[in-house]
Point group: C2
Amino acid sequence: LMMGANGRPQVSENMIHPMISHGVKIMSMGFLIDEDAPVIWRGPMVMKAIQQFARNVDWGELDYMFVDLPPGTGDAQISLTQTLPLDGALIVTTPQAAAYTVARRGAGLFEKMEVDILGVAENMSYLELANGEKQYIFGQGGGQKVADALKCELFGQIPLDSCLREGGDRGIPQVIADSKGNIANTFRLIASKIIEQMGN
Amino acid sequence: LMMGANGRPQVSENMIHPMISHGVKIMSMGFLIDEDAPVIWRGPMVMKAIQQFARNVDWGELDYMFVDLPPGTGDAQISLTQTLPLDGALIVTTPQAAAYTVARRGAGLFEKMEVDILGVAENMSYLELANGEKQYIFGQGGGQKVADALKCELFGQIPLDSCLREGGDRGIPQVIADSKGNIANTFRLIASKIIEQMGN
């Protein structure tokens, strides 16, 4: 949805061809099931799906592969670390105290599985009002606190923003919808820091 | 955290005594593990924890039992429906299009497991500015759309609100911190609609 890709991927010779949108190859459970049907899958089936996405999708040569995970430290996270060699994990959190513990625990799983923590991105950091004033609805400093606890860098802060949300719902990422805006710059900054950290 | 309960629950004769805060008995994995340690649990262990919370916690006589679930349709949701007889499910969503599909799928799991959908609560519905103007950061109508699709009622809309968030982080629910305020009234309205629906 957020990448503007939909429909069913082509399958040939037991390989799934990823969808392509904005120049990015994409694979998601959402392409394979009905929009309204729940994916009622216990852990072993989650593991199988992850393995299939890793092995039976015709990814070809990639610059980078991103895997967007649900929150938590369950089967999806464990199976992924056991299926693919990961170069690192980006921890995403909100500034809120309640999110801090969840982010720390999520990072703890990757540490235990010996996956490097690349850095932290803070989401929903603030809302900018029409007069330029920033409202910190979810508090301040949570992302930095997580980064400090994990001894890594806070890569950037993404604000709460109507345009960002609308672009997501319409499948047009902010780096394309408003490529010169502040939010696009922050996304690019975070991307460059991920690349830099992966080179270390 | 959000209920202001912490520490370790007492255990006697193989029964765990729930923590009590604001007159509510509470049990959570968070009481049993270190704050920073990830709960790296595959599905069968999630099932075991849910069974233990249902059978080995000294709940006594209860008016209502609420189980707060993570998003999704995985082991926690499946195991719960197979462990406890549920009177119904309250679906919580944000107004955002991206959240709609997730909420519909979650409800689909309960329908498949023959658990009644009681209704829908919309969270992060809007932000009220100092001048009274409402900002619909996550869009409008998502909760109603989910309710319509599930043929049930939208019970209420909880705004994005700094005080609500702070109360959550400090462990003081809004119905106690500001018991006569609009947000507390909305929570009470949702509660009364749940009770009403459970009577039907």
